[in-house]
Every structure is written in C-alpha cells, then in structure tokens.
Point group: C2
Chain length 188, copies 2
C-alpha cells in the first residue's frame, strides 16, 4: 500500500500552472495549489522556495546550456559571436516548446512580482555568460558588457517571437535582432 501518490513536485507544478492560468498569479494562494495537488501548503514550500519559483525551475538548465555553448564555441569566435551561438542554441530549445512558452509568458505578464523574478533570472544569466567569456580570456569590461547585451538581445527577440501571430523561428529572430544591433551601433 502506497502511503503517498508519486511525483508530488510534478503535481504541485501542474496545479500551480493551471491555477495561475485560470485565475492569475495574484488570485491564487499556495493553499489553493496544495489542495488541488492533494498536499499541504508546507509541502509546497519544501519543493519550491517560494510561490513564484514554480515558473522558473527551468532556469538552471537554460543557464547550463548557455554557458556550455559559450565555453565550447570555437576559439576563433569573437565574444559577441560566442554568445550569439549560445543564444541560437537556446532558441532551438524554445522552438520545441512554443505553446508552453506563450502560456508561461502570458502568466508572467499578468503579475509584476513574476516580472521581477524573471528579470533577476535574466540578470543571473547575463552574469553567467560574462563569467563564461572570462573563461575564454575575455577581459572586463568587455565580458560584462557582452553578457548584458546578449540578454538584451534575448529579451527583445523573445518578446517578438512570443507575440508574433504566425509561429516563427526564435533562432532566426535572434539573428535578425543581432543584425539590428549592429546597425544601431555602427558609427556613421
């Protein structure tokens, strides 16, 4: 006889996504989530450090992907080229989960608290990219600046990709945004 149903964490995550989607993040209490998952509030906080973190559990994997791509970029690649390759790799990952990404983004856009969490995760990604560049021998302030610019590119491209009516290729949008950046920064 099983004492508890399996995959508490997964059930909590699913219940949370459903409720955030149905009523919005602010109108959902942790007690609601736990109840739908057949668990208690206390157990929710054993699996997620806070109410927002449910939506950001993938951040760690994304960071690893980005950092690895930068570290493994060819030696010949300039800093901005290295992070661009990295972003494209991430782009392909998102392409496979567009529906989920759109749903998640809609939820985040509905809550200032969630936007704040999203921004600090992106900021952490920028710092990780900068570190990866330093491993490649890129000096500061170039490393830090390139990390921040990469995240700026990602933000803009992701917005365009998510809000475009007909499904497009995120990697392609990223390449286009990079092209725009080069135009904007070109000295005339």
């Amino acid at each position: 006889m099983v004492r508890w149903e399996p995959d508490s964490r997964g059930r909590l995550a699913q219940a949370a996504m459903e409720l955030y989607g149905e009523r919005g993040f602010d109108q959902t209490t942790v007690a609601d989530i736990a109840q739908r998952a057949g668990l208690t509030e206390r157990t929710f906080f054993r699996h997620f450090s806070d109410k927002r973190e449910v939506l950001f559990s993938g951040a760690h994997a994304l960071q690893e992907l980005l950092v690895n791509a930068v570290v493994n970029a060819p030696d010949s690649a300039a800093p901005l080229e290295a992070v661009s390759l990295s972003l494209e790799a991430a782009g392909n990952l998102f392409n496979a989960r567009r529906d989920f990404s759109v749903q998640r983004q809609r939820i985040i856009e509905g809550s200032a608290e969630l936007q704040e969490r999203e921004l600090i995760k992106l900021s952490s990604l920028a710092a990780a990219l900068a570190n990866a560049l330093r491993q490649r021998g890129v000096a500061d302030p170039t490393a830090g600046l390139t990390g921040e610019v990469a995240i700026a590119l990602f933000k803009i491209s992701f917005e365009r990709w998510v809000s475009s009516s007909e499904p497009s290729d995120l990697a392609e949008v990223l390449r286009d945004s990079l092209e725009q950046l080069r135009v904007v920064t070109a000295t005339t």
Copy 2:
C-alpha cells in the same frame, strides 16, 4: 499645538535608510522603521506602497530626465546618440550624489528582493526610452532594442563607477562603455 511632527514621509524614509544600512534590509521590519520615525506601521504603508519602495522614490524623476533628454536631442542625432546624451545627463546628476549612491547600492546588493525591484525599475526605464525614441520616429524593433542597450550600458557603467576606488565621472565611464560596445559589435 501641533498634532503631529511635520514631514512624516521624510522621517520614514530617513529611518528606513538608517536601519537598512545598520542591520540590512531583511533584518529590518516595517514596525522598526515606523517606531524610529515616531509613527505607526499603517502610516508607513500610506506613504510607501511597500517596504522596498523607500529606496526607489527617485526613479520617477530619473525617468523624466532621461525621457526629456531623448525627446529634446537634436533631430540629427541617431537613436543610440540620443540615448547616450540622455545617459550623460543622468550621469551628471549621479555625480553630485556619489556618496548617497554608493550607500544605496551597498544596501541593494545585500538583498535579492531589492535587486529585483531595481531591475524592474531599470526595465521600466528601458521601455520609457523606447517610447521616447518612437516619438522621434524610430521604428521597432530598433526603438526597443536601443532602449534595452541603453540600460545595459547604464548598468555596466554604474557598477564600474560605484565600485571604483577613486571617485570618477560617471558620464565619462558611460562614454567609455559606449566605446567598448562599438568595439564589441563591430563586424570584423
């Protein structure tokens, strides 16, 4: 006979800054702040929408300064030039309050919650800059991208300026960071 001492808001802000500096943000309760200001918790929340907002009341003025500078930039200025002028104007404002800025930044660095709030304020600035550029006839995605890049420049430069041992000129650091950006994005 005066019923209340004057400038409740100012007293609350000062008490909060003192306590955040003495014990850190997390170790300070709103009750502590209200008590030091000779007021009640409820009154704190009448003046500040939350515990973090005390540190960000200047954001509105900064946004106005930046937006005005972009709108009033010469017609001949390219998008990136317009926001650069804008950032330099902000830089001069910060130069005059370096000690305060350093103290405030130390407090923010000590709390993830405060970093999140800082990031969403910067994000709001990026959006405001993008809007100002659209008023100048700059089309998307250039406007949005330039706004984000401007904030990236500001973040990197501000960090360098705050952490440099001998006081430097923020506007100068900003110009240097822009130069770095041009190098990084230049096609080889």
